[in-house]
Symmetry: C2
Subunit: 158 residues, 2 copies
């Protein structure tokens, strides 16, 4: 894997670990990231957020996909609640986490000379949905394990 | 409704009508757009794409949500195929349409003095999923009717 790709993965990985640790008191353990040309993440709720460079020459998208079990564990820990199902409150919290993970990762990318502005996060709820980023560029997938179950972060650039 | 909001709705509406007309030979008839603070579109496949101003001060997201029936009609017309279910090919075509609708709408917004760069589109597939844009700003919803069934376009800015 190229050095630049490794650095990008590191920035996103650090951001996920930091944001989940500080906001949701949840330890996220990253597994080995992989690059796929044709990838689809599957889960029960996903946050997605786009970003683009000020010139518009470079753009990207990041998604964070949870299972019902992992999202309820993480969001209940974050909000101090005992929610039993995916409510609008859970979706909004996923949007906030997505925004924060992307924001912190973008700060890290800026240190590598890659400047991006973020868009507004959207949250998709639907049992066993799949999410697919439509780009000819490679998609970076970073799986994490938490005490509540898996999450998967995907990032793509063009 | 404010004049500016009406102008923005007009740009997105024109873009949907043009892109579906030229790319998929499909007539899309807009219904009255509405503004909701707390909105969720429901469908079987959605394309979503973020955008942000070069300064990062303004940002937004657009989604296009289809039912299984409306997407198959539109994409089969676009590709000259007779696909019976939502495949990766359908998802990629939805990503392309989403990108084109957003791109043409952004050109229209630039005429209003609002310049945005677009991100990479993501496509979510999942029966009866819902999509929610996480922003304190209002969400503009524009429903369309096509010969194949309904589609709904949502736009939000901050």
């Amino acid at each position: 894997m190229e050095k630049k790709v490794e650095q990008v993965i590191k920035k996103f990985t650090e951001s996920v670990v930091n944001v989940l640790g500080t906001m949701a008191m949840t330890e996220a353990k990253p597994s080995k990231a992989y690059v796929k040309k044709d990838n689809k993440a599957k889960g029960d709720i996903s946050g997605v957020i786009g970003f683009s460079s000020p010139s518009g020459k470079s753009k990207g998208t990041m998604s964070v996909t949870f299972t019902q079990q992992s999202v309820l564990g993480i969001i209940n820990s974050m909000l101090g609640e005992e929610l039993k199902e995916i409510t609008d409150e859970v979706a909004d919290a996923v949007g906030e986490l997505t925004n924060m993970i992307c924001g912190q990762a973008r700060k890290g990318l800026a240190e590598l000379g890659m400047t991006y502005e973020g868009a507004i996060p959207s949250v998709i709820t639907g049992q066993n949905h799949s999410i697919r980023h439509v780009s000819s560029a490679a998609i970076l997938a970073i799986p994490f394990d938490t005490p509540f179950g898996p999450i998967i972060v995907e990032v793509c650039f063009s």
